[in-house]
Structures are given as structure tokens and as C-alpha cells.
């Protein structure tokens, strides 16, 4: 590309999306400075187990790209931009071929072609996989290709560097970043033509979750505080099957259920009174059974455990059972994760059922981007889990590896196009770079010398407890209001943190204090958006309270009464519950008229408050219909 002037893109984050973007930029003659918390080969993408969706149609099921499109939109409860999703599902088979050429050891059929497996929310076999470590294998393939470009001089890696913030020029265009070396603690400003954030999800806002310790959403929160809008942050996926742990909840892939795993608890048979295994997902959702989407499965497990009291008491868990499946089959298809259960629990899931419970897993929300992955700040782009695109209100299993990779193939080339367009205003002056650097140095020095009574890690634990209590599987407006109060209190207490490490070499503690503040501020964006969204959609299920009901007009009250038959409001909590003896909670319905809109949150710096508004998106291709996994889509 000798005829094109050399352009430099900064990519922050070295997971699937960041690496894919990097690769595309290098191939088109651009240069990349790649920043990551860790050697990029250790990025969180490698935790994905089950597989990647793509319509390969090699199982004689007449699978089609349209069907994948429809499953994704339907599974996401019609909140995903349909043109964006369409682009993604169309690209999927090509991406799989690319990975195959790069040497990903996909599991194969005896004929040597790619094997496919079932995944939740989809009736066809559509998920390519590499045993049960698909994410690891895909990440390694891109890591290898990027290393190849590193040798050729296209990429300069900054591993063990933490992103602190972006730098804008006088026209408000993002033209660089400030970052800190995590070992030497040196803070530097880096100029660029365009910046892409690919920093993953905010799982650590909830503390114990299935995400890596590096997935703290700190970078997203930092640019949010600098004016970037956040889209749909209230939609956080709770994965139904995780092994609860005190350091983290470890994922048990949905592939377990795809390969025939069954979820059950003990109960007294309502007719005979005898103790029996109750396969409740199969009972409640006959068409999809154990393969209902994640939001549906999580709520069902929560209901069975918390509301019906049928979980194994202390700890509250249900069984995920593979023990009826032949051991050699399990080894080939799921070996990696079965070993994990053995390693971390000390029991063999080939012989005994696993004990599992839902856990925070993935964020459908993130930085708001347009279809080309531009944020509302010119010169700043976002892709991968840190953007909000592609999944709507709920993500189908095995669509995350796809969206991460695909978004990189869009953001990378687009960043280079933008860099070459000449519409970015002036590059940063040395004075501007130095001013931004100095500000961050001063902030870090201040943190290093904090001498209050609070411990940041203890506060992080509390943040997780608060978020799990009020903003997880079931939400109600009283809880969400209370949550906002507690988060404000936590943010205030942040000022009173004391660090024991005042040094300036590999000071992980001070860096964590900075991240914690960002996490609390992001938690507020999640909570406030959940509070404002008075409906249930996908991962966001809101219980109706008496106070909600009282605020409705007569027509809305009437519709609710007709839909729900006999119910009452619990005297203590104000929650609406059925009268039929089961005391089932009653939820808001999906409200397309009011809420078929993207939540957009911007930061009000004066009050550290999120400001929530709504934005239209493209949903004209597939007409919204109500989700019902008790019957197959076409029935």
C-alpha cells in the first residue's frame, strides 16, 4: 500500500475483537499500537467454551442464514438493530472458514468436515466448536496472526499497560490516549489517528461472575465519563449454569445442555406425593426443554430455587446432569470443562450430577456505536463486548465469539478509512499530550497517597453484593431506587480509601482503586437504566409493585388485571403475586410501544449521575412477536 500515507490506529484490548481489528488494519497497510492489561494471548475471550454460531448447513437440516438471523433477533427480544445482526450472520460462515485456514483445531466429523452442535434458543445444529475450549482456540489463532504482523512491523504491542483515558483535540475529536505501564507505573500519552476500544465486558462490577478479573469495565466507564454514550447497560446476561465459587463463578458451558445435559431438582410429585427428579425446564418449555435461551433458563432456575424452595438447601443449587451420557462421547465433546469441574470442585461430572446456579456472565449493553462502530465521540470507536450492538436484550449462546470477531472486521477497516479521510482535525500538540499525561500522573499520585480507613477490595466485594441483590435476575423499582442510594454512598466512601502500598513500582493496589471508582460509576448507569425501563424484556425482568400499579391509568390497570387473573400485593414488599397458592411473581409485560428503543445513557459530571434517554433503531425486517419457548417458533 505504498501509495497510501501511513496511519496509526490505537487498539485497546487484545481479545478476539481487538486482535481481529488489528489484523484487518495491518492487512490494509495501517499501523497499530495495541494496548492490553496482559499478554494478549491471556485475554478473556479464551474463556468461551461452547462454540461459535454460523450457518454451515452440513447436517442435512436445511439450516439457513435467515433462520440464524431470526433466532438471534427473536432470542434478543427484538432489541437488536436488525441490519447490524443481518450483517453479522451473513459473515459468520466466512469467518469460520478463515479460522479453519488459520489452524483452529475445530472438532471434526469422521469425514473431516467441521462438526456442529446444538445451542440454546436455536432448533438447528449451527455451532462450530473446538471441543469445549473454542474461545481459547479462536483467540490463539488471531494471537498467532497478530504476532506474525508484529514480526513484519505492523503492530507494536504494549502489554501490561492500562488504558486510563482518551485525549481529544481542540475540535473534540479523539486523537490519542493516556496509558500506564503496570510494572514501572510510568504514565505516558500516545497520539493516534483513530482509537478503537475493545476492552470487553464489565463483569467485575458484580464481583463474582464468570468473567476474568481483568473484565472490570473500567475503560468503558472512563470514556463514558468523558462523554461517550452507553447503550442498553441494564441488559446483563445471567448464565443459567455456573459453578458458584468464592473467588469467581466458573462457567459450565451451554454446550453441556446442547450435548444432552439435563437440569433437575428433587420434588414431591404433586399427584403421587413421591420424591422424584423434576426436569423442570423440560416440563415448563416442552419445545426447547433444556435448550431454552439463557434468560429463560436463569429465571426458571431462580424460581425453582428461590421461590419454590426446591434447590439443594445451603447452598442453593440445582443439578446439571451429564452422568447418563457415555463417558467417551463426553470426553471428546466436553473434556475441557468436565476436567474443570473436577479441578475446582473435586468431583467427576461423568459420574455425579454437577451442582450449578446462575451467574452474571455477559453484557449485552456497552458503548453506544453506530453500524460502522463509531461512538458519539468522533475518532473513538468501540467493538466486541464493550459495545452494545448485536444481541439486544439477551444474547444467544455461541453468538458472542461471532459478534466479537465480526465487530473487529467492521471496526478495523472503518478506523483506517476514517484515518485516511482527512476529517479528523489537527493531531494533538505536544502541549496537549503533556497536559493529559500530567493530569493522570497527579491523579495516580493522589491515589497512591490515600490514607483513609476503607479497603478498596473490601468495597469491591460490597459493590458486587449490592448489584447482585438489586440488579440481577429479578428487579423491582423499590430495589433499584435503593440500589442507586447505596451506590452513591459507596462512591462517597471511595474518597476515604486507604492504600497500604504507597510505592511506584507494580502498584496493583493503586491501579485497582482507580478501577473501582470507574466500576461504581458504571454500576450507576446499569441501575438507573434498569429503573427507567418499566417493562420486562430479555435479561431485564421487572416485578410489578403496588406503587407501580397505582401510578398507571385505568386502561393499563385493566389490561394487567385481565392478563393476570387473581393476584394480590405482598404486604411487606409490595410485589404483585398470584393467588393460586404458588405465589408466582407478576412481571411487567414487554412494552414495544414505549420501550422498543435503545437505552442511551450519558454522564452528568456535575452530579456523577447517569442521564437516561432512548433512541430509535432499525427493526423493520422482522416484525416483533412475543417470545414463547414452550412451542417451537413455527408452531
Amino acid at each position: 500500500m505504498a501509495n497510501k500515507p501511513e496511519k496509526k490506529i490505537i487498539v485497546v484490548g487484545g481479545g478476539l475483537s481487538g486482535l481481529m481489528a488489528t489484523l484487518k488494519i495491518c492487512e490494509d497497510g495501517g499501523k497499530v499500537d495495541l494496548f492490553s492489561y496482559c499478554p494478549v494471548k491471556r485475554s478473556h475471550s479464551l474463556c468461551a467454551q461452547g462454540g461459535m454460531n454460523a450457518c454451515m448447513d452440513t447436517k442435512g437440516e436445511h439450516d439457513s442464514i435467515y433462520e440464524h438471523f431470526d433466532d438471534t433477533v427473536y432470542g434478543g427480544d427484538f432489541l437488536a438493530d436488525q441490519l447490524a445482526v443481518k450483517g453479522m450472520v451473513e459473515a459468520a460462515p466466512k469467518l469460520v472458514h478463515m479460522f479453519d485456514r488459520m489452524g483452529v483445531p475445530f472438532t471434526r466429523t469422521p469425514e473431516g468436515v467441521l462438526d456442529l452442535r446444538n445451542f440454546g434458543g436455536q432448533k438447528n445444529k449451527r455451532t462450530v466448536f473446538a471441543g469445549s475450549t473454542t474461545g481459547q482456540q479462536l483467540l490463539y489463532a488471531l494471537d498467532e496472526q497478530v504476532r506474525r504482523w508484529e514480526v513484519k512491523g505492523g503492530v507494536k504491542k504494549y502489554e501490561f499497560w492500562e488504558f486510563i483515558k482518551i485525549i481529544k483535540n481542540k475540535d473534540g475529536v479523539c486523537r490519542g490516549i493516556v496509558a500506564q505501564n503496570m510494572n514501572s507505573n510510568e504514565i505516558q500519552a500516545f497520539p493516534a489517528d483513530v482509537v478503537i476500544l475493545a476492552t470487553g465486558g464489565p463483569g467485575q462490577v458484580y464481583g463474582r461472575c464468570t468473567a476474568s478479573t481483568i473484565c472490570n469495565g473500567s475503560a468503558v466507564s472512563a470514556v463514558y465519563q468523558q462523554g461517550a454514550e452507553i447503550g442498553n447497560p441494564e441488559f446483563l446476561q445471567i448464565h443459567p449454569t455456573a459453578i458458584p465459587g468464592s473467588d469467581k463463578n466458573r462457567l459450565m458451558s451451554e454446550a453441556c445442555r446442547g450435548e444432552g445435559g439435563r437440569v433437575w431438582v428433587y420434588r414431591k410429585n404433586p399427584q403421587t406425593g413421591e420424591k422424584e427428579r423434576w426436569y423442570f425446564l423440560e416440563d415448563m418449555y416442552p419445545a426447547y426443554g433444556n435448550l431454552v435461551p439463557r434468560d429463560v433458563a436463569s429465571r426458571a432456575i431462580y424460581k425453582v430455587v428461590v421461590h419454590m424452595g426446591l434447590g439443594m438447601t445451603n447452598p442453593n443449587r440445582v443439578y446439571l446432569d451429564l452422568s447418563h451420557i457415555p463417558a467417551d462421547y463426553l470426553e471428546r465433546k466436553l473434556g475441557g470443562i468436565l476436567e474443570m469441574y473436577d479441578d475446582f470442585v473435586g468431583q467427576d461430572p461423568r459420574k455425579v450430577p454437577m451442582e450449578i446456579f446462575p451467574s452474571i456472565h455477559y453484557s449485552m449493553g456497552g458503548i453506544w456505536v453506530d453500524r460502522e462502530h463509531h461512538t458519539n465521540i468522533p475518532g473513538l470507536m468501540a467493538s466486541g463486548e464493550c459495545d452494545y450492538q448485536y444481541h439486544g436484550a439477551n444474547r444467544l449462546g455461541a453468538n458472542s465469539l461471532l459478534s466479537a470477531t465480526y465487530s473487529g472486521t467492521i471496526s478495523g477497516p472503518e478506523a483506517l478509512r476514517l484515518a485516511r479521510s482527512g476529517k479528523l482535525g489537527d493531531a494533538l500538540t505536544n502541549e496537549e499530550l503533556e497536559a493529559a499525561r500530567k493530569e493522570c500522573v497527579e491523579e495516580f499520585d493522589k491515589i497512591r497517597n490515600m490514607n483513609g480507613a476503607e479497603n478498596a477490595h473490601q468495597m469491591h466485594h460490597e459493590l458486587g453484593d449490592i448489584m447482585y441483590k438489586y440488579v440481577s435476575i429479578e428487579r423491582d423499582n423499590n430495589g433499584l431506587k435503593q440500589c442507586m442510594k447505596e451506590l452513591h454512598a459507596l462512591l462517597k466512601r471511595w474518597d476515604n480509601i486507604g492504600v497500604t502500598d504507597h510505592g511506584n513500582w507494580a502498584n496493583q493496589e493503586a491501579m485497582f482503586v482507580r478501577q473501582l471508582r470507574n466500576m461504581i460509576i458504571y454500576a450507576m448507569a446499569i441501575t438507573k437504566s434498569a429503573l427507567q425501563r418499566d417493562e420486562s424484556r430479555g435479561a431485564h425482568a421487572k416485578i410489578v409493585l403496588k406503587s407501580d400499579y397505582d401510578s398507571w391509568d385505568a386502561a393499563k390497570k385493566k389490561a394487567f388485571d385481565e392478563k393476570n387473573g387473581k393476584y394480590h400485593f405482598d404486604a411487606e414488599t409490595g410485589r404483585a403475586m398470584t393467588d393460586d397458592g404458588n405465589d408466582d411473581l407478576l412481571f411487567f409485560g414487554r412494552d414495544d410501544e414505549k420501550f422498543m428503543r435503545t437505552t442511551v445513557v450519558s454522564f452528568d459530571a456535575a452530579n456523577s449521575e447517569p442521564e437516561v434517554s432512548y433512541r430509535e433503531f432499525e427493526h423493520s425486517l422482522i416484525k416483533p412477536r412475543l417470545r414463547n419457548y414452550a412451542v417451537a417458533k413455527k408452531e
Binding site: C38, H44, H97, Q136, E144, K248, T500
Partner: protein, 250 residues
């Protein structure tokens, strides 16, 4: 109430690359399922030694906590392993934590393993594809070969094998089992094998496979049960064949 059971940790610490190591002891409340990383996290919340001294929290590296990323490798009771899946119940107490000194120490248990990633460049650990764009369908693969590739692809560059290998360290120039075996992986792939001679020639050079003393330590240390020595032996044969070819083709 019964007294809370404690777990004693003896941790080898070091403030910087050039300072002298020292040890500190910490007690952590026992709970079922506790692992070494979870215990280190508890110390972060209350970094006080058994003598009641408030100290800087212990520095170490971890990411996924699922034994996939390879970050939290350290020497636990004398053996290199992942801290995340080291259950307290399976360890003799007191538990001694040390950095893997095969690699330069940055601080405490945090080490610099960049040499492993550099070695991957040397053996050209990638498939030379034309590009990420669409070319055509990928070649069909023998499912058995793919299974071997799958096994080797689990290598998470944790460095356990490097720490266990007596030939990796300042006394030798051996690049180590992990990067060496990656050459075997890429030579297996239908497209990757086009560049097999390049990789084999790289392994003939100084620090290549001839520096392997076949001590068999690596295969025992590998947390992913990769049959390292089997593939090292196979590679050795391939390298010898390549050496002969080099002679006759010149």
C-alpha cells in the same frame, strides 16, 4: 462456636527486580473449596502478616481463574502450577508460595515471561495464510490429526514446563519445551506444513531442540497433560530428517 480454622501461607516476596527476596507469613480463614488465588484475594482485603504488621498487598498475576489463561503460574510447595486450581484441601500446610525464578521476577510472585512469546516468533508459530479475507473453503482435515492438534493447542504459555525443565535458565540457551512443541503443532496443519522446513531449521539453530536433555520433567509438570516429550521426540526425528535433506539438496 468452634474456632475458625486458619490456613498459613509463607510467601516469598521481593519488592523489585534487583532487590533481595524476603518471606512474610499470612493467615487466611479456611473455607471449603478455597484455592490459592482466593486466599491471595483475602490477603488483599486485609494485608496484615501473622505478626500483626500491615504490609503492601502481595503482587501476582491472574486473569481467568479457570486454568485456561495461564497467568497465575507460581511455585506452590515447591512445584510450578496454576494458583487458581490449587485447592487448599489438596496442599500440605503451611503453604509456601514462591515466584517461578526461571523467569525474571518483577515483584513478589509476578514474573516476566515475555521470553516465551518471543520464542513463538522464532519458531514461526502461525499458519502463513494469505489474509483474513475470504479465499475459499478451508481444506478438509483428518479428524485424528486434528485431535492431536487440539491437544497441543491447549498450551496456555503458563511456563510450568519451563520452570520444571533443568535445561531452561541462564546456564543454557534452550528455548524450552512449550515453544518447541508449538512447531510440531503448526507442522501438522494442512497449510501450516508448507513452512515446516523453516520451523525445523529454526529448531536446528542454537538453543533449539538439540539443547533438550530429555529429562522428562516437562511432561509431568504440564497442567494441560500435553504429551510434550512424545512430540519433542517426533520433532527431533523431523529435525534430523530435515538436516539430511538440507545436506543433499544443497
Amino acid at each position: 462456636m468452634a474456632e475458625q480454622k486458619k490456613v498459613r501461607f509463607i510467601i516469598e516476596r521481593q519488592d523489585g527486580p534487583d532487590t533481595a527476596p524476603y518471606t512474610q507469613e499470612f493467615d487466611v480463614d479456611y473455607r471449603p473449596g478455597l484455592n490459592v488465588v482466593a486466599a491471595l484475594m483475602e490477603i488483599q482485603k486485609n494485608p496484615v502478616t501473622v505478626d500483626g504488621k500491615k504490609v503492601a498487598p502481595v503482587v501476582w498475576e491472574c486473569n481467568c481463574l479457570e486454568k485456561v489463561c495461564g497467568a497465575c503460574m507460581m511455585v506452590i510447595n515447591g512445584k510450578a502450577r496454576q494458583a487458581c486450581c490449587s485447592l487448599i484441601d489438596n496442599l500440605e500446610q503451611p503453604i509456601r508460595l514462591q515466584p517461578a525464578r526461571t523467569f525474571p521476577v518483577i515483584r513478589d510472585l509476578l514474573i516476566d515471561r515475555s521470553v516465551m512469546f518471543e520464542s513463538l516468533k522464532r519458531i514461526q508459530g502461525w499458519v502463513e495464510v494469505d489474509g483474513s479475507w475470504e479465499v475459499k473453503d478451508a481444506p478438509i482435515q483428518n479428524p485424528y490429526t486434528a485431535q492431536t492438534a487440539y491437544e497441543i493447542s491447549h498450551c496456555m504459555t503458563c511456563g510450568c514446563c519451563m520452570e520444571a525443565c533443568p535445561n531452561v535458565g541462564p546456564q543454557s540457551d534452550f528455548i524450552g519445551p512449550s515453544p518447541t512443541v508449538q512447531a510440531y503443532l503448526f507442522n501438522l496443519h494442512p497449510l501450516g506444513k508448507f513452512d515446516a522446513p523453516k520451523r525445523l531449521n529454526a529448531l536446528m539453530e542454537k538453543g533449539g531442540i538439540t539443547s533438550c536433555g530429555n529429562s522428562q520433567n516437562c511432561v509431568q509438570a504440564c497442567p494441560k497433560n500435553i504429551k510434550l516429550t512424545t512430540y519433542l521426540a517426533q520433532l527431533n526425528r523431523d529435525v534430523n530428517k530435515q538436516a539430511l535433506k538440507n545436506i543433499f539438496n544443497h
